[in-house]
Each structure stands twice: as structure tokens, then as C-alpha cells.
Symmetry: C2
Subunit: 252 residues, 2 copies
């Protein structure tokens, strides 16, 4: 049996009871933290909380050498852990397909995600979000890729919000911040932005303002995400004022 378990958003308490029970039941646990990370905890704390050794695999160890994971799942119950929900990366889907080909039963246990936090922490309604996009580090693509601006533009034309994931280089522990992202986008876009930081923690940050203003602020430790809203409904506007500290004139 191979259980894919999403650890949720932030720390060792972000997992569901179902996920915790599955992890307790596992004979061996593997994890990958190159797609995303739990910034509020450590592997040691996860191991202690769940009473199991966690073998962290790098990208090559999952994509090119999945055999040890499949062998463990073939002879017993293996858990494969990721931050957020599971199956967010094609790698996970590929691993699940390979397991199935070997006749290994698989199971998916969901975790909380940035996608839902972008909606519930800001008060922006979840059914008003269009396609999401990812803003890469500036040097990776030489500025803001056209595809990012196109996604935001198409969503705004349809009056939809855009969740902008911010680039992560988990291995060097480098995370794009909300102010950097707002600054990059402000060169192309005169719009409101909403930065969410530390989603899933007991004290997350939410700040709404014009992109140019957000570029000059700081939002605490990672992870950050950025939402570019479409036209705001009255209750959404009120929520951004109340919980995002938006200046009254910024949201017009």
C-alpha cells in the first residue's frame, strides 16, 4: 500500500486526523520538500509528532529512482508526504501510476492548500477565481513572463481573481516575497494586490493595497502568495478593508 498524504499548509499540526492515522499505520515514510515546504516546522518535529522516521528524497530521488519507495510499498505500507495537498506535482501522479502498474494499492489523503487559503483568509469568494499562475524569480525568465500577464489579463477581462504563486527554490531555501512580486507586476499593471503570508499559521498576514504600495512593504517570514483581484463585490471590498488593512481609496 502506498498512501499519498498532504501535510497541509504550515506545520506538523496542519495534517488531518485521517492523515495522521495513516502515517502512524505506515511502516516507512518518505517525503519530498522540493515542490513546497512546511516553513513552520522541521523534519525532526514531524518525526517526533508522528512517531515515525521520515526519509526525505530530493527531486532525482523521486523522479529517477522511485524504486526504493515502490519496494517499500510493495512489501508493506509506505507513506509519501508532501506539503499542501498531494498530487500537486506531475511527479506524484507519475509515482502513483507506477505503483498501480506494479499492482500496489494506492490511496490519496488530502491536505489544506494555498488555493483555499487565498480565498478564505482574504474574503475573496472562491468561485470568482480563474486560472492560477506562478511568478518565477526574475533572473529565471528575464522579468515577468508574458504568460503570467496574459493569465491575469484574461481573468480580469472575465472579472475573475488570479492567485499568483510565488517562486520557491526549496533546496536553497529561497522564496520570492510578496513585495518583490508586487514590484515586478507593478511595472506592467496598475491594479490592487493582496499579499497573504504564513497561511495556515496561527497568525497569518493579509495586506491589500495598490501593487506599487505593496512593493514597499514587508510581510514577515515565508511563504507568501499574491492575489490580483477582479472587480470587487461589496463584501469582498469590506473584507479587504477589515482584514487586509486596505486604504479606502486603494480599492476604487
Amino acid at each position: 500500500m502506498l498512501s499519498f498524504i498532504g501535510l497541509g499548509l504550515y506545520d506538523e499540526r496542519s495534517i488531518t486526523l485521517q492523515g495522521r492515522d495513516a502515517l502512524r499505520d505506515a511502516d516507512r515514510a518518505f517525503a519530498e520538500f522540493y515542490t513546497s515546504r512546511l516553513v513552520g516546522t522541521t523534519v525532526d518535529a514531524l518525526e517526533e509528532t508522528h512517531g515515525i522516521d521520515i526519509e526525505v528524497r530530493d527531486r532525482a530521488g523521486v523522479e529517477r529512482d522511485p524504486e526504493p519507495i515502490l519496494d517499500a510499498a510493495s512489501g508493506g505500507h509506505a507513506a509519501f508526504l508532501t506539503a499542501g495537498d498531494t498530487m500537486i506535482s506531475t511527479t506524484h501522479v507519475d509515482l502513483r501510476t507506477r505503483a498501480d502498474e506494479r499492482g500496489i494499492e494506492t490511496r490519496v489523503i488530502h491536505g489544506t492548500t494555498a488555493q483555499t487559503a487565498a480565498s478564505s483568509l482574504t474574503g475573496l469568494q472562491n468561485y470568482r477565481f480563474g486560472k492560477a499562475t506562478t511568478l518565477p524569480f526574475e533572473e529565471t525568465r528575464g522579468g515577468v513572463p508574458d504568460s503570467v500577464l496574459a493569465t491575469i489579463g484574461e481573468n480580469r477581462e472575465r472579472d475573475l481573481h488570479t492567485l499568483v504563486y510565488l517562486d520557491i527554490d526549496a533546496e536553497s531555501e529561497r522564496y520570492m516575497t510578496g513585495d518583490t512580486a508586487a514590484g515586478l507586476l507593478a511595472d506592467h499593471l496598475d491594479a490592487v494586490g493582496v499579499v497573504v503570508g504564513q497561511a495556515g499559521s496561527d497568525d497569518p498576514t493579509v495586506r491589500a493595497d495598490r501593487l506599487g504600495a505593496l512593493a514597499g512593504e514587508s510581510f514577515g517570514p515565508p511563504l507568501h502568495l499574491l492575489v490580483i483581484p477582479g472587480d470587487l463585490h461589496p463584501l469582498e471590498r469590506e473584507s479587504l478593508r477589515t482584514f487586509g488593512g486596505a486604504p479606502a481609496d486603494a480599492l476604487e
Copy 2:
């Protein structure tokens, strides 16, 4: 203090450890199950698992008479529970705003959602989903509303998947099923559909086929949801064959 806690997708084990701890710490717990329900459990089982009485409020009891909840949060720690994530309904946002106006500290604790399950159970990549929509019971709007078809159509033009939430009448425990939804849409659309049932349970259902074929199947107990994919990437196609039992010729 007023803690908004998402109970997650399915039963009393779908809550996060963070949510469980907050609920244990609460002096009083309120819940609404008219927006969605945890079909895998009962209020009694929730109360027993979490060691707290849960006062279930109907729509009027939240929207028109929130004072008892706000009073409890003003004098102590109150929890407000919903299925899935919290803040999915404008009612929740409104309650949070009212609490803030009364000087009550609020907190948001996330739960797992149908949105992420639609992606991780099917293998359809989450960044390829466009705006979601809801298909109402046929008698409510006299057939399939134009807005539903427009959302699916616009997403398909942009090569995006559409999550179609299926109508719920929680008070009469009536839930639209995947076969009904597929049948309604098949009259307007020649497309592949993916039905997901019992998301968040230990044994969820995933079935992919042409909408016309899905209309003649059944998918077990509620809740169901339906995804109308855009063009499939190779790994997505493989996942729908492997985990959704899609006939090879259905996905062309």
C-alpha cells in the same frame, strides 16, 4: 475569540490537528451544515470525537440572528464550524466582519476542499483549472443555466478544466448525483466528464468517460462532483485511464 474552523471533506477525521486543538480549546461550538455537509459522519460523532457540544444553526440562525454566536465569542472562545474550508459562503465572511466590528478577535483554520480533491484524486493538474461553476437542480432554473455552459465553454477555449459543483439541498438531504449532472450536460455538450464521489473518504470513486456514458452509471453515496476537462496532457490522460477507468477511445 471566534475561530472559524473548516472541518474538511468527509467525516470527523477530516479536520486538521490545528482545528481539533482549537475546537478542544473552545468554550462553545456552533456549526452550519446548510452550505455543505459531512456525509461520512453525524453531529453526535463529531461531538464525541471532539468532546464538545455542537449547536447546529440553520441559515436564518446564522444570517439573521448571529448575536448568540457573537455573544459567546465576546465572553469566551467560540468556534464556528463548516464542512470543507471555512469562508466558502459570504455568510461566513459577513459573520467575521461583524465580529471584528464588535472588537472580537477572529481566526481562520483551513479545511480540505472539493477543489483540491477534484485535482488530486483525478490526476488533473491544479494549475489547469479555470473558474468553477455550480449546476443547480433542474427545476430550480428550468434546465442547464446558460452561465454554466458559458463557464465551461470559456474554460475549454482557454484549454482549462472546469470543476462543476453539484447542487445540494442539505436540509432535505437531497444531493445531485454525477449521473444526473452528466445527463443534463450531455444534452448541450459532447465532452469527457470525470465524476468524483465520496472525496475525502478512505475509498472514493473516480470515473472518467464521455458525458453520455456517465449519465447511465451510478457512483455510490453522495457527495459527487463533476469535472469537465480541457484538452488532456499525456500524464492526465494516463491517470484518467488508470484511476478513472476511462475506456481508451473515450479520451480522444
